[in-house]
């Protein structure tokens, strides 16, 4: 562990001006500093940092906050200016325990059934690889990212900003597969994907299975992905095959997908019918409420997080528009009273990816509330406040996502 931290500090010293940038702290202190101003501890109360579970043992422990076996968040300071989130620090959120790792031993033999098309068929991953290929960059973000900032104590993992990353998927466009099978059957309105997890006996499958429906329009961008960041999709992130719906919240990117059906109605699986629905605090989820589909415009500062040196400071962050390209990102060092436009940093990897941004600010000693506000190409800007909802979903309010930095 010590060797890894020294190496990271060495890289830091080489090219980056701001002190404290990318300080990777063992355990949870980094995230705690970022949200401690809210006056509560958003993490599990056990004091020692947990080790990584076996199925994620290859990941960079010091870059992650381990909430539980199935939920690990990227440290705020571990996201940088490189656009693509390295796989070893990408967050993990499983709704169910992963199937046996053996499913990735012979990836090309994995089977997925396509239904609700003129010619339904079961295809292997090997078959899919012959049919077509595309590579897409997209933000993978949990619906509950930002939940920690809701004051009503929404049930669920208390993510702050780290249940998000920007990654590169390679796979076959779903459209290509569907066209080869004669196209969707008449009257179909949804794409319903089912995950390949093993379900324990004694529980109604509909109550826990991961089966999600997205509107048919997603066929334009959806892909069946077998690679993540230029490597075979790890079992940890849904390998050997995952449904990827760029620009949609994470839950719709069904892992170890075994069935893709074009359907007239949304699935009645609980995770779709009542789960992941936006509604007012105190209400139960139901199918007439909006589902967590397309992501909203969002941004947050990634450095500095706690301290700065007086003089010129580089303020870094990431911003994205969900399914839409970004227009601009603005940054304020006075809590939102005055704003300046930040510059995008690095290549534009398309509307579904995020864009790092940077703004230089001359800061005298003192305390600063640094916030960022992104606007998408259709003019939608992040709101100042949060939209209160029962499960703390979809938080993109710029005020809560700021950081308080002491400059000396």
């Amino acid at each position: 562990m010590n060797t890894e931290i020294e190496t990271l500090q060495g890289r830091e010293a080489q090219g980056l001006a701001s002190p404290g940038r990318r300080s990777l702290l063992v355990g949870s202190a980094g995230a705690m500093a970022a949200v401690s101003l809210l006056g509560f501890v958003p993490l599990a109360r056990a004091e020692e940092p947990k080790s990584l579970p076996d199925y994620a043992a290859w990941k960079e422990r010091s870059a992650l906050i381990v909430h539980s076996t199935n939920t690990m968040e990227t440290q705020r300071g571990a996201i940088g200016a490189g656009v693509v989130t390295p796989s070893d620090r990408l967050f993990v959120r499983n709704n169910l325990p992963a199937p046996d790792v053996g499913i990735t031993a012979n990836p090309d033999a994995w089977e997925v059934r396509i239904e609700g098309v003129k010619n339904p068929k079961t295809l292997t991953l090997g078959d899919l690889k012959q049919m077509g290929v595309t590579t897409v960059a997209s933000v993978l973000q949990c619906s509950g990212n930002g939940r920690a900032f809701f004051p009503h104590g929404a049930g669920g993992t208390q993510w702050s900003v780290g249940a998000a990353g920007c990654v590169i998927w390679t796979g076959v466009p779903l459209k290509t597969v569907v066209e080869a099978l004669g196209g969707p059957a008449a009257g179909m309105k949804y794409i319903t994907s089912t995950g390949g997890e093993d379900l324990p006996a004694g529980v109604d499958p509909k109550s826990i299975m991961v089966e999600r429906s997205v509107p048919l329009a997603a066929l334009d961008s959806a892909l069946l992905a077998w690679e993540l960041n230029d490597e075979p999709l790890p079992h940890t992130h849904g390998g050997p095959l995952r449904m990827v719906v760029p620009g949609y919240y994470g839950v719709n990117n069904v892992k170890y997908v075994k069935n893709v059906a074009f359907t007239e109605a949304q699935t009645d699986a609980k995770i779709q019918a009542s789960g992941y629905r936006i509604r007012e605090v105190g209400k139960k989820g139901s199918p007439d409420q909006p589902s967590m589909w397309e992501m909203n415009v969002k941004s947050w500062v990634t450095a500095p997080l706690e301290t700065g040196r007086k003089g010129r400071n580089m303020i870094y962050g990431v911003a994205f528009g969900g399914t839409k390209a970004l227009d601009k990102v603005e940054v304020s060092t006075d809590g939102g009273k005055s704003w300046s436009q930040a510059q995008f940093l690095g290549p534009d990897l398309g509307p579904y990816a995020w864009r790092p941004f940077v703004m230089a600010a001359d800061l005298a000693p003192g305390e600063y509330r640094i916030v960022s506000r992104a606007t998408d190409s259709e003019g939608n800007a992040q709101p100042e406040g949060r939209m209160e909802n029962e499960r703390g979903y979809g938080h993109n309010g710029w005020s809560d996502h700021g950081v308080t930095v002491t400059v000396s």
Binding site: A44, R45, A46, K50, S68, T69, N70, N95, L96, P97, G155, G156, P200, A201, G202, V203, D204, S207, I208, K270, I271, G275, K284
Partner: protein, 106 residues
């Protein structure tokens, strides 16, 4: 209403005395291992109950507070179902006391 409040206050006093607290733990364990449907043991790991379910969080790791357990069991959270229809308030209070006590979350 005032009578109910007095009764509720009295029952809180009674249940917090050592003799009743032990009963409440045993009641809570019974809810956890036998009475809740589906059984808590299918989805949760809890050493005291001898369960090793892996669908939901490991409760020994999570260390939920009594209130967190009560809220989760009553209204459900994530893929966890709501038990307010199938378990009585007494059963929910008992299992909340039990889980938070044996995990150290209390």
């Amino acid at each position: 209403m005032k009578q109910l409040a007095v009764l509720a206050f009295a029952s809180v006093l009674l249940t917090s005395s050592p003799a009743f607290a032990g009963d409440l733990l045993a009641k809570g364990k019974a809810v956890f291992t036998a009475e809740a449907q589906p059984s808590c043991t299918i989805c949760h790991t809890l050493a005291d109950a001898g369960s090793a379910g892996a669908v939901g969080p490991n409760l020994d790791e999570l260390k939920p507070t009594e209130e967190q357990v009560r809220n989760a069991v009553t209204g459900g959270v994530g893929i966890m179902p709501a038990f307010e229809e199938s378990l009585s308030e007494e059963q929910i209070a008992a299992v909340a006391h039990y889980v938070s006590t044996v995990t150290g979350g209390k």
